[in-house]
Symmetry: D2
Subunit: 390 residues, 4 copies
């Protein structure tokens, strides 16, 4: 087992850990640990909500989750010798659950507290608990399904430079300003409430907490990309913006469907991740890389029987939208939910299932004006009976 | 070889064929041929432009293509016994090129005549010719690439009912009305110019030509879905809206990347398609199916080495958009094009390649406000050298 | 369509074709055609029996097949510039059926005329006819099965040198001498009866016919390897032993299980094969290649649900054999046949099915004295119902 | 984490564990633990040699290994309610290394002490140590290779009945009698030396030790099958011969090539395995199952680039053998070793690599008298450079 570079105690919140992590992005959050290129090490992670969700049948915790505390991240890890303009080569060697914590959760966030892709149709808080049985997960809340995991970090990235952070804050503030009263909001702006900033204290804490970006969206540095195929065995190339790179990781997922549609949609878990890091000097310029690139790992589950649902960019009211892949994927998801309801699942169960299972969401056609065509492919092997039309 | 139910002569335009097909959708376009459920038959198809593009190095034909003539379809095929509310089960048994026509083309349409996903960046007409070498395609215009095909019909569907057609025309007219001067237009409304309507003549022709929907967008019935995974060996379930189903097919693709981003972006080909059809009576209600669903075939090319590019919904000007998968995928594509240019490809070549090669375009995260995260995965096995970062 | 370099008329036997092929191996069989390295060309092939088996329900033709006429091969193809010691790089670009001949057959040869892997248990002649439905084959003689093809040439190779031929004849004669009365024989020695030797005539024909090796076994040059994974899209590296290489091909298979256990066990077909050839000068020495090597193609059917049967090297009488993979695989096959009989198949049907379907036959353990362990994996997706234990 | 039903202390030999396991097969070895059908539990296992091999560069331990101590197994596990004639349904949920023991070994056994598939060519003891880096293994003894694991139990099965045990002893004694002086022997007969028999003591120990079968070969009950595809996520159906089933497991492999050719050829490891068991009453008769059957798991590594080597049943002296798959596979292995030596590997390294890496060994043709054709497919993705011919 590699050395545990960053340890978590699941019984304590992130800000009470021996070495606290963080839940905001800022270049001045101090590195928690340091390593040399070529090292292999283990990072332990709390679940993204910092342990707010419990292994029971009551979705109240989902309903009242404090989203100011998310996402709790482990790190930053200082990589000796890494400098702005480099590419950090991160091998995701393995991911697993912590002993005595071999379970995860999928939630539908309430419309008024987080929402999700289909919040108009599913506005109430809901929860599914998953038990890990080796490579598989099963849920007492979604019967008839056993799905092999596609373990991946929902969130990984290096710290932004001050310039990049300023740019994030500028553009997101501009968006929020367009409709400041909206629920859920158009974006989450910096918010000192419940900020965890590593070892920072006092005035420096206050300054950074006011400036630091929330972790919710993916951005240029990667961050909360929620890409299920960034799975065990992947090699990831991350842009470096600050000296030492300051790599952080968290939000581990046992599995996820493309889109992670219910927002808390993956099978969210606490756990550990084993990494190997190296550096390509000047790699950002050498390869013209502005956003992360990666090579997926070789052990994703293999399926051969998919049922594919199509969606187009006409909304439920019959309004035509122009090449809107968001709406097209939404319709594909709704079509799949409708179908699954004909096989005995409730709408909530189907929504949770599409969020958590390794479904493929594709932009199939994006040029045939005015309709985008998106597809959602469900692997039929996860069900204990045949769900094909007959 | 199955009986050729619908024959085309590649030297003649669609309206001069012995049995002409059509290039509009309307319930009153007469069926060209009929079959019984359980039948296997072959349909020949012209390329979607009706033969306007030629196997040479000059993109003038792309620049001046008459888009009123697209997409030329073979059919309609009357399926005995099919009725509204049924599901037509269509097995796509095989697809191939016609003898002496073993080539295809990929085009970038000019901004002022069709455009495409990245028309702002690539406004000029361009063309790549592909030669088919068995299961592979190679292009003298994009060196260093040999890609195995994922043959599929870009366009397949049953005729709409009058009600459905009216609905299409209503909602698309509404969209166009929002910005009627836009180039390219927001949608293509009915247009009698160059309409081909099977055997219709005289006043009936004129009426139908005025009402009939253009074939460009995918809609509820399927149509121009451009889904690369609807490939050889797939089983497709199509909603039936009119008596006899009136199935039509065309726009065959030797290969395509998800999104078909350059619009004329697949490897467009003339060819044949072998189909088997059957009927599930009342299947639309029985399974709650409003848009087509399908099970992909088992012989799509198998890759193991992908390089994946991420994109987020911040546009090139730095403006933040709200969960806009269109923009996120656009950025992923631009990131990939930038990368490929570091390996000697021109921007045009890279754009054509992403359109035509079997790249995977995924909606990875669609809930992490305000950024959608889309990914574009390029199979590295199509290149004759290693394109990984090193 | 590539130029047809070698044409066959299915209504005539091989020795009456305009340009006859051959059914023996000998360096002095004259080349039928010639090509340059870099060329793409099409070769048409009769089925391996030269058309002796017919599309009907009567296995008499199987029972009385004249095995002196097999395997009829198309070629030899002279490759300009190829010399002994080179490697011939052969790309198998595509394979297909001839129009009006879209069917194939699988036979169980009678014990007294050819036999097969399980001839002790299945001594009677049997036949299954398969109809090709695009990428799939179905048989009226084996219900409930639809299998995607793995098209490949059962037989491909370059002509042996005289030295190599002499060596073959020496070692095989030695083997036959060990038990000359055995039925079926231990090997098929040169036999002028029904020999077809291209354009050879007169005394030269007689001499070559006496010396030429039979085509039944695979040998150093490749030949009748019957490797299902040498499928469409493969790149094959063949040793060259004579000037011009003298490449020949035949015995096309629509599909085959590993081992081709019933001897006439593939789905045998007439058809065409498209090839591209090139030469690596001195490649045999450069890479130490004595037998062919190859890279399989990317479009083999993809399965995810296999049922695997084990066999060990104890024969049915209970006798223990030492690490005998032949017996271990035999037992695995018999175990699978027994299992399939519990799902309604007759023994004959099961035997034919294991021969023809894309089953995987593996040498799993070959060192655990005294038992070899071989496995047979059947893809469950080929059946129209679930054949798992429940 | 499931409850650890069977615990091992790696610092102690198997007979000194708190609850000792066993290294022989006999119905009267007492069950160590018991469970109910439907249970999930963890079994810890020592490596198959009981810890005789060490993580260093000196192969002396391989040379002098005491093979009387192998294979040390964990169990037997009594399954409540299981009876002779049932099928035990064993889900292999996951497999992993023990903390502080994340390494494995591959050995070439000396000819005079165990030997292996190619012992004539590689008679000296050799060793490669592998370090586990998450899903990958690397070896300081075989540079340029990083291979994803295919974790599986080399050995799993239920206890034989007395009748079955007697049959094993009868047939194996008969084989040994054919050549009693042979080195290595033709089979390993019962041998009390170093026997470990769970809690048995005194006269009962002595009796059982005299009768109990060695664990080396796979047999009807499964046992030491060494099937790499019986990997994580598999569902295995085991025949039950005694009341309580008495399931045992051991010989965990991080990876293995088909055939496990160097005998100690897998990446041998200590570790844990998580199982779920259930029972199909009367399943042996219901499905005609005499040997185990299984469905492989979905997370085996996915490769697309294989280089395949052929072998035929002519031995190195030029002698022709009749359809001998053992020799054909041997030749395929030797061909691959020869090839790898042209890329800088020593013969020993190549032999160890083919044993340990996830290579595919297939019986491709087994009916083309007199030559069997076997193939060995090496996934090229495991190398850090391109090993194709060029």
């Amino acid at each position: 087992m590699p050395d545990v570079l960053f340890h978590v105690d699941l019984t304590k919140p992130m800000d009470e850990q021996d070495i606290p992590g963080h839940n905001r992005w800022h270049p001045d959050i101090p590195a928690a640990v340091s390593i040399n290129p070529g090292s292999i090490f283990r990072i332990e992670c709390k679940d993204w909500t910092d342990g707010q969700i419990h292994n029971n049948d009551d979705p109240s915790d989902i309903a009242h989750v404090d989203l100011n505390r998310v996402h709790v991240l482990s790190g930053p890890v200082w990589v000796n010798g890494a400098e702005p303009g480099d590419l950090l080569v991160v091998d995701i060697l393995d991911i697993g659950a912590l002993p005595d914590s071999e379970w995860g959760f999928t939630g539908i966030f309430a419309r008024e507290n987080g929402g999700g892709f289909l919040t108009d149709r599913f506005p109430e808080a809901r929860k599914a608990i998953w038990d890990f049985e080796g490579i598989y997960a099963v849920s007492r809340h979604i019967p008839g399904v056993r799905l092999p995991g596609v373990l991946h970090p929902g969130l990984i990235g290096c710290a932004p430079s001050q310039e990049l952070l300023d740019e994030w804050n500028r553009r997101e503030a501009e968006l929020v300003a367009a409709n400041p009263q909206r629920i859920p909001p158009l974006a989450n702006l910096p918010n000192p409430q419940s900020a965890v900033l590593g070892s920072l204290k006092g005035a420096e804490f206050d300054r950074v907490a006011r400036e630091a970006a929330r972790t919710v969206p993916p951005r240029e540095h990667g961050g909360n990309c929620d890409i299920k195929n960034l799975s065990k065995g992947s090699r990831l190339y991350l842009p470096v913006y600050v000296k030492g790179a300051k790599l952080s990781v968290g939000d581990l997922h046992f599995c996820q469907g493309d889109g992670e549609i219910s927002f808390c949609g993956a099978i969210e878990m606490a756990g550990w991740i084993d990494l190997h890091v190296d550096v390509i000097k000047g790699g950002m310029t050498k390869y013209g890389v502005a956003n992360p690139i990666f090579k997926p790992g070789p052990v994703e589950p293999k399926f051969s029987q998919y049922l594919v649902f199509e969606g187009i960019s006409v909304d439920e009211s019959g309004k035509q939208h122009y090449l809107d892949a968001h709406i097209a994927y939404r319709r594909a998801c709704l079509n799949a939910i409708e179908y699954l309801q004909h096989f005995g699942y409730t709408g909530d169960q189907a929504y949770l299932l599409l969020s958590a299972a390794p479904v493929e969401g594709r932009i199939s056609g994006i040029v045939d004006i005015p309709n985008a065509c998106c597809t959602l492919a469900i692997p039929l092997e996860i069900f204990d009976r045949d769900l094909s039309p007959a």
